[in-house]
Symmetry: D2
Subunit: 478 residues, 4 copies
């Protein structure tokens, strides 16, 4: 979060590189409409990409029903299908809807001009429409070449949002969209909602004068701000991965979990989630770690701590959750048994040394989408998922509930920054107040029909707390 | 299992009806090739159905590479894709491969002429090729209008198996295939491998003379033979459903399990599996039961035992696992909260009173394949999965490992019956010897790198057992 | 269960031997009053055994407050303490109390003269007083030298029950008590409630004429009647052991379960319970099995199946649950690592070859009650619990709830047998009707505030069941 | 941790009060020798307290075998039994033994004069002997009136340690012991190992000149130092309580966990551990929380979040883990159902309003040690454990493994402080370096036969870490 005129500290090169959109990374943050279909259900098929024409959206002349053409999407006619997806998402994003309702009267974002750069999904649409209801004007581009849901983009365009995004953008398209989003006559952004820092970097370099007018930036991944969205991060890592490891493996391989031997590399939050889920489904789970504290936790939690070398020949599945590079080397891959499944749940594409598998003596065979067999000369097959990219993003979906927490946090952060007295947030990267996380959490409790207990005056005094929080010191580990 | 000349006791009408193939039941016992794909991977797309021509297979003239035309499949040219699926299945069906290897020398099925009627999948192909290697001749038809994998059928036809099956058969096609399978000059079946009893019933009625020559019938579901495949049933119910409840819900709804309130109707084996899995993933699970013993088990296992009426207004998911009818009534459906998901994991299509939802005041909206929104006049939506058909079959897949146990048991049963001295199995339905289950289990242990302990002579004497089993009395509850 | 005049089939010698009371077997079926105390709380101490005088009860002249001396207990004055224990037990045995209330009007045991032979605990007292309220006359002896709670025996004697039992009986005392119980002028038993068959055997041998008048015998463990108390057995084995393995290990060794490596020998019901509990508390659990079906279950449930030899050198705990003999041999014991804990949760004292440890080169050191260190010449210590006797009986307690299920079943069995028309149960061992188990279960549901669902007429017809059960076929495996 | 001459910030009055020893708090940090015994095993009985004489240790003349009388213990002759307990503890405290071995050559504590104030248990003895081996001189007093193991104190005295402690000290004894420990001619402490701050406070007030010479203080609970022992705290709270909630309930009530309804107040680390354990054993668990973030975690983990009022009438057990006061009020207690168990796992004695139960209309009945029945006029009984004091300390034991982590951390902290260059730790309370926690963890990995992975140079560079740690930023939440 950077306030007006501030100098931004960008992510170091390594991370920035990983965050930049690439052709290789096939990420899907939303459920794909065609994904779960096994039969030819017609109305669904009617709005999938494959049936579309091949004309580039940039070459099309499209107008929405109000006559506006300030957008660029695949096919404005798909808006009705996208609207249905948005309506379904709204039902599961009640926290954002509640925020919208509560703050609607006072329009806390009146005058805000937000340029956004995220995945374009139904959940993003709910966020944009919330920001709009709170008084903001928004223009949006996609942060990924492939993740855009064309129908949702169409629905947003139809509702009057200047959206510039479609599935299957080229690199040139990608930058063109961003530019169309920012560089518009008579409109100058004063807030940025970024994902990975690329948009901020681009404005900073290309439109330095515009950058000086920016009142605040909301971005999850700038270096040093790891704790920015504690809550949203915890949900993305621990709770989300607990489910998506099962989902991703099942969708790609239809394997049975019971009795399978799995080694999970890394016992951070993602590793903890994966281990818990696999253990619960009857897998035998081994863990590797470099940090003795996490290692000890793995032990106490009932996982045998091993070196990868020690079990690589016997396991059925290898999963990486380290954030490190070359955790699974060509040597490891060589020692795996036939049919061993290899996948990555971590933070980068470098955990498995996939490059080392592109050698003449190995044969690659794509057996289905996101599933490659790498075949040794003796016939041994390794099953590589998503080419070593993130399984949870490539082959699973992030539940709407988790996206709701992220989106609600982003909306609150935008409100906080936009309304902060000048100078309150100095020229630096800032953590959001702990209270904001608590507020986001409280907005999500009704989903679970959960009833929070309130402190009595006497108890609050005893504990030295305000009755409405914050309830924990900053260093508290949830 | 019925031996030569025996009178068969058919399933009562109710069950038989449920077993008969219907257009409504979209079952998929195998992973669908197009299922998990989210991008347009070309080589996969090349052998999906949608791109095929519309000519009926019955009108086509097809020959395999050896010149035979004694088969009827969608497209013989797809054989190479089917062969790859079979090879992958073989790697996971090591028990059958071991059986093939062990028994191959002695050809225990030499002279056997088997007519089969099952789902046509890669796993069935492995079974057929095993039976063939053991000496049998096989002819095969599909037990379901929709479950046939055309590529696999093509691969079998290419290898010389008379297979009559394709995806999307009409009812007329269906009976035509069975007839082509049975009624062939110069070939008379002496063994039947049935699924549901329809094939047996059909031969009995239409070709009574042929029926008298049948030496044995292997069928899983004839009334009174519930314990026939104890092992295979346990795997299909408890272990398989433990995983497929999660898989089916995730694939259709992308929901998050953590914190969801679920009511599971029925705490038999299927219910136990569903409850355990959902609890492990963080759902709050309620159970309904009619049997006080199962009810007490649910209590001790940590599930609140309720009447459906008591919780219907508050739960996020309702799942039926009872085998009963009208467990979820229109009245229950009316009391559900908005977005409540309703699905059936049980044994019949009657558990949810879906018929009652086809009334003028309710609007049905198909939001994706297998997912319908039923919309009340006040806007409330109920999410009905697979139109109340079996979620585990419609929206999930049976893992190859489980299919392997079933197929291995079937192969052993065929060998046992075919080689039994005349009169050993009388004119009645019989349980397979317990030892056979133990043998099937032992063939699957290597999959888990499992090491069985052998009794010493002294221990066997102490326990009054043979060293090689059977190890338990018939009434033992595993 | 044997009806009037029937010939009884006794347990074979092996089992009978194990069932006979021995000085070695220190069983405690009830919570011991002094057990959990760490400080010198006076009023508790006041009624413990240690402070008592040393006079044999047989030499004492005692009368209860009504003047009767037809009993023999340690100290009639302790009755008030025993009554309190009984009252506490009554609160947890609501099923028996409900049975008492329901059947009290009709006195279904009027005329029954029951001689009983069980552990003498507060729960047994509740059973006796229920039988009495239902019309029966009872005389009772203890089935174990050590398990009698003197205070409870005193309370029963004070209430007028002829009880002959105290803690620390000699073998001579033991048989004297049984004789006093049976051989009484003007009173002849017509029903037997036995535990292990010793009482039945004794009457049969010593008083053959009396035996002919016996109308029925209720006994849990006669050979061939394994399924007699399905429900009670399931609770005793699976659910009870799931808790008592933790309790027994904690009470004796104060160990931490998290991260401990454990091998559980045997994956029957007891083994399943032990494995589930230890896994849940974070132990790494290995399993040994001889039966491939149970072995496969262990695999699918997520336990590595091993031979004991393969892991004996690395594990922290070895537990036997097999019913077999010499499962843990001297050779295994020799290979264990220092501080390895060895204990037995199975059915006999022979599972661990304890005898082999009584050799000159090994030193035994009792470090606390039920805990011996066996010390090798190199200083290695093995921690042997309860000298290889049953850990769950020696070092843990059976929860009142489980005892309630057993006692309720016994009471119902006595009623059933006593009221059965002559000849209904023939001269053989019989299973109780399945419906009785269902009834026992239903009596215990209110404990859990559990609400059973009732079948509609339509549903009962559809399932072919009576609305009130039995709900499952005899072979059903819960 | 306070360095030389520093001003200490004491705990606020509330906390200090809780930490001060009281007659009411019956804490036992170690397994009690007589605890698990149910029979009169003689050699154990021979060294229990009850058989001892009543003379106050202060009035006895005792010498150890080397002729020293600089100690005051119950009975120096019990040393042999205490030595055995210490030897057993050593086997489970291998981390401390390893530290002893590694650092023994260099004597990093040479010249250190440590005055200690902790529970006197076998584990403390291992710590003291380690400090001594590293070069320190130690004098020790007990921090609790009741927790001292007399045999261990005797063994320490016999080995030459000036120990002043016995079980059952009066308040006057208590301060006398501390004084004897500190105020000795020719010996002046330069390091303090405190527990709760009372010793530090006492020296500061009574011997201000001595206090100025103190080079460092190691204390776990000084206000503001919550993160001092992250690792040790995590183990004490989460992992330890996960086991001790079961142990404490079982030891006091012999209840069955399966099917019990439990409400856990507070979902911090202790609450999380309790909930996980109870859920795993088949209880139905409800949670109350005041913090919406912890509340949301409870929901996602599968626990129904409620207000205490909403479930108080239906639950079988109420457990508090909040650190708050009056969480369970008299009103709540009044609404509980008969036989409801109430206990406290939290941080203070104030969580349950026990005082409110001391009113004339309620009858208290002590049914066994640590278990009171509070009886309403209508006969309803509430089962109150440990009079509302900490169940985990009163009725369970802290596993040696957890004590080992604490003791190892204390030893390392003493070494760190004693050897730090003057001024390195300023006049304030300090966190120990993160690396120290990692080192403590690594010393405990061999216990689990755990194999840590080492970073390659390339990986360390990629991650920007040193190969030997620290591996995580300070804010990392394990």
């Amino acid at each position: 979060i950077i306030q007006e005129g501030g100098q931004i500290q960008f992510a170091d090169q390594k991370q920035e590189f990983n965050k930049r959109p690439t052709k290789i990374g096939l990420r899907s943050l939303s459920r794909s409409i065609s994904q779960s279909s096994t039969d030819s259900y017609s109305s669904v098929a009617s709005y999938t990409d494959s049936s579309d024409d091949e004309t580039s959206p940039r070459d099309k002349q499209q107008k929405n029903s109000k006559g506006s053409s300030d957008f660029c999407v695949k096919n404005i006619k798909q808006a009705v299908f996208g609207r249905r997806e948005i309506e379904i998402a709204e039902q599961e994003m009640s926290a954002l809807m509640a925020l919208k309702k509560r703050a609607q009267g006072e329009k806390p974002l009146a005058g805000a001009k937000i340029v956004g750069y995220t995945h374009i999904t139904a959940q993003t649409a709910v966020l944009m429409e919330t920001l709009s209801a709170l008084g903001a004007q928004c223009r949006w581009a996609a942060c990924n070449f492939y993740s855009t849901l064309n129908e949702v983009a169409a629905a947003l365009a139809e509702s009057g949002f200047p959206v510039f995004a479609w599935k299957g953008e080229s690199e040139d398209d990608f930058w063109w969209c961003i530019d169309r989003c920012v560089n518009v006559e008579g409109w100058q952004p004063n807030m940025i909602l970024d994902d990975g820092g690329a948009l901020t970097h681009w404005i900073y370099k290309k439109y330095p004068n515009m950058f000086k007018k920016i009142k605040g930036i909301v971005e999850e991944n700038v270096t040093g701000v790891h704790r920015l969205y504690q809550l949203s991060k915890k949900f993305n890592n621990l709770y989300c991965c607990r489910e998506s490891i099962l989902d991703g493996l099942k969708k790609t391989t239809d394997m049975m979990f019971g009795g399978k031997q799995v080694v999970v590399c890394g016992y951070g939050e993602v590793g903890k989630g994966c281990c818990a889920a696999l253990k619960a489904m009857g897998s035998i789970v081994y863990v590797t770690e470099i940090d003795p504290i996490c290692a000890l936790q793995a032990c106490i939690d009932g996982f045998q701590l091993v070196k990868l070398n020690g079990v690589i020949w016997q396991v059925d599945i290898v999963t990486t959750c380290t954030g490190n590079k070359n955790v699974v080397t060509r040597e490891h891959l060589g020692h795996m048994k036939n049919s061993c499944i290899v996948c990555n749940m971590g933070h980068s594409n470098t955990e498995i040394d996939v490059t080392s598998l592109h050698t003449p003596e190995l044969t690659w065979e794509r057996v289905r989408s996101q599933v490659d067999h790498v075949i040794w000369t003796d016939g041994k097959r390794i099953v590589l998922l998503a080419e070593g990219h993130l399984l949870n993003l490539s082959c699973s979906t992030v539940p709407t509930f988790v996206l709701s927490i992220t989106a609600t946090t982003q909306a609150l952060a935008l409100i906080e920054l936009y309304n902060a007295p000048e100078g309150h947030y100095k020229q630096d990267v800032y953590l959001l107040p702990k209270k904001m996380d608590e507020y986001v959490a409280s907005l999500h409790l009704p989903t679970f029909d959960a009833h929070l207990t309130e402190l009595t005056d006497e108890q609050a005094k005893y504990l030295g707390l305000h009755k409405n929080g914050p309830f924990k010191p900053n260093y508290y580990r949830y």
